[in-house]
Symmetry: none
Subunit: 471 residues, 2 copies
């Protein structure tokens, strides 16, 4: 079959699916509007998976077609979503790290310390992210805006880049490690991820427990740290980079730094803005500033003080692509949630299943595994939180699951569940957008790490929480 | 003063202005929130006029700074505005006309019909532009990207080129005709010019009238067509080209078309989609479809059927620039309007000035002539729209001018006002840049055409609108 025929077959599948859902009667108890949004959402997700055309073209088509029928206003809301803008600005900010050479300088520094093996680099990445997780409560800002851009430069310096088709040498390993570690550190601290505070609010409202910063950290630190230790080696075994040892790493680091010479003014500016942004992100809990607004301001400071030129930003193709497709999917998913689709889904589950027949731990497992499966449908951790967390908490409560483990496990599975796809959380499109990792590997290894995380939380987390008297 | 110093002086002016308004008490009767938005809006407009940095950088900075203080949600709404999307897709669609060659083919066809005399060429140019104005809502893409490059080649073939110093033989006449016609067709259709959709939004917000595609076309078509008929002959009389007859015009058209070969599939697709889009835009009053959704669908059809590639679209720098700055300004202006700023401004004017002392038609004339004079200060039709249109509409409303003529005349004067100089709109620098026309001629004849357009709109437009019941 020719490429064109394949393309149009895929488009045919999308159209057929959309029509099928659209013209089926809405299930009982579901707002017909929610059913229509579901039709659009299903077509969009299948379109992004089959990818008959680049993702932005797929999403613009969905918005175009459904926009003509349903009116475009509600379908375009994602383009003004702060989540979308956080993702988009992360792309642009990373241009500054490349353009000024600051990323390179930090990378050379880290190579000098950890660069003896690629596994060592994996761990230095993991600990950088862990440290930042204390202070940067946005997975996107952390991995997408800070950590990975630096390690991408490390890989480039060591001769692994997407431009040369040499991602598999090192960069693909680092990209996936960065993504998975980021989603583990996200759940160690209450401040590790934006939706966590909303989850804590649900835990209070629905379960009647207080998940404050210290309680969260006490529960999260042991299984979380174990995962931070396991994941770099796990991925190293399963997704081994070609570059393993770097014998001349000390010399490489030194000569690289020498070649760069002293810091330029714009590099210094970036370092200052970077520190300011991290500080601002770290204190959003006190100042009330919005993380996306800080990102936009960081970006504009970089542009004004010449850390990068507008022309460079304009040529950042990944940023525009992401803005186009991610903005559309975020819009769809928030409409789906707003129209009550997920509430209906929860009621459907409750009507058809008798959750209290299960052993409490089995019930927890069902909830987490179920949550992970449903996670494939969600393009945002925040939307997953908003729509699924009440459902999971309600089912667990009704079924008699132990409260604190229930509260924490559902929160954690919201975090590491994003490993499963390249669209599940804001950070996914950013790291995937670098192009180092193929979709198949991304999804397969994502599932492996997610299973590993589930095992650690159940086999180590649960007994540990018992030990410290949490249930 | 160095360029950098100049830049930062301009930024200093912006910052000072913003602080001054922000910390002044809000005028009596105005919501303090509206006053804060006004501070942002004023800084944005001054920033776009002074342009210390490219417009997108200016606007992102405003959104970043005010977003940190006020929260970014309300400042980002413009990015999901259908107005923004109409402007944005306009740029992208123009790519298809250049890429497939359909624009060129239309021009050669018209040369075969009208090309016997240089006046005929002027008319064929005028009708090509008029046809394209239905679907290419960027004056720059239309005249600068499609129409004039073709007629410049025609002139060269007929022995008139800037290289030989023979512009006056034909090319200078065609260049000026192209420019003036372009700015007349810009106001015939809602889709004739990017800022028109914003003007329609202002008309809805401030005047409470719905300037949909059909209404706009109904009002624009009669005075617009008369101007399309007048301008080529007017310029022919005042700026007569040396070449008057073209004996081999049939052959010229034939060989041009032969050189292009038969229509490619993608060219045919574009022609079909083009016709469908025009039909859909023209019937939105009946179908209720949204014009922006139609544009997005038109765009996605072009992408799916390969009229252009995503890569070509992605490289359309103007589109991304516009999305960035225009989305921000649209968001600000809609917040300003939502917070009741324009209502307050209207009341203020009403209290202090007695606009109703004028006869309504005289008031319209004062507004249009005033607008034209101010137009010399503006380097962009979009900026003129954003800053002057609300003022003109408010004054007209307060002074009791007839609403529909007010709505249309101000819009039209934004279009043809760009004739006055070589910098008033993005298209000016492009056509002037060919070097066929001297600055003195450009400005003098621009003023003549603008006066002519004003006369036609007032002497023919007003009675015609009365006749069809628009006031």
């Amino acid at each position: 079959m020719s490429d064109t025929a394949k393309r149009f077959l895929k488009v045919g599948i999308m159209v057929a699916l959309g029509l099928l859902i659209w013209f089926s009667p809405a299930p009982e108890g579901l707002d017909p509007l929610a059913w229509q949004y579901f039709s659009a959402y299903a077509v969009a997700i299948v379109g992004i998976l089959l990818r008959p055309f680049p993702a932005p073209v797929v999403m613009l088509s969905v918005v175009g077609v459904y926009g003509v029928i349903m009116g475009p206003k509600d379908l375009l809301v994602g383009y003004s979503s702060t989540t979308t803008w956080q993702v988009f600005t992360a792309f642009m900010i990373s241009v500054a790290f490349a353009s000024t050479g600051l990323g390179k300088r930090i990378a050379y520094g880290l190579i000098g310390i950890f660069g003896k093996t690629s596994l060592g680099l994996g761990y230095s990445l993991a600990f950088t992210d862990l440290t930042l997780a204390l202070a940067v409560p946005s997975t996107t800002a952390r991995a997408g805006g800070v950590v990975f851009p630096i390690f991408n430069n490390v890989a480039k310096t060591l001769g692994s880049s997407v431009e040369d088709g040499t991602s598999h040498k090192l960069a693909s390993y680092l990209a996936l490690t960065s993504y998975h570690i980021n989603l583990v550190t996200a759940s160690i601290f209450l401040t590790g991820m934006a939706p966590n505070s909303q989850i804590a609010a649900f835990a209070k409202d629905i379960l009647g427990v207080d998940m404050d910063w210290m309680t969260w950290a006490k529960m999260g630190i042991v299984p979380g740290l174990i995962l931070v230790l396991i994941i770099p080696i796990l991925l190293y075994k399963l997704f081994t980079p070609e570059i393993r040892k770097v014998d001349n790493y000390k010399e490489l680091s030194r000569s690289g730094l020498n070649e760069m010479g002293p810091m330029s003014t714009r590099e210094k500016c970036l370092a200052v803005f970077f520190a300011m942004a991290v500080l601002s992100w770290a204190t959003t809990g006190i100042t009330g500033f919005n993380a996306a607004a800080i990102a936009i301001m960081f970006l504009s400071l970089c542009l004004i003080f010449g850390c990068m030129g507008w022309n460079e930003v304009r040529q950042s193709k990944g940023a525009w692509d992401t803005l186009m497709w991610y903005g559309a999917i975020i819009g769809l998913s928030s409409q789906l949630s707003g129209a009550g689709f997920f509430t209906w889904f929860a009621e459907l589950l409750q009507t058809h299943f008798n959750f209290s027949m299960f052993n409490p731990v089995v019930l927890l497992l069902i909830l987490v595994v179920g949550g992970l499966l449903v996670r494939y449908m969600f393009a945002s951790s925040s939307v997953f939180t908003t729509s699924m967390m009440p459902v999971m908490y309600t089912i667990g409560l009704v079924g008699g699951a132990p409260i604190m483990p229930l509260a924490f496990l559902c929160a954690a599975c919201n975090g590491y569940g994003a490993m499963l796809t390249n669209y599940s959380g804001a950070c996914g499109p950013v790291l995937f957008g670098y192009g180092h990792v193929k979709m198949k590997d991304w999804w397969t290894l994502g599932a492996v790490s997610a299973v590993c995380a589930t095992l650690v939380y159940f086999l180590i987390g649960l007994p540990y929480w018992k030990l410290i008297g949490m249930w």
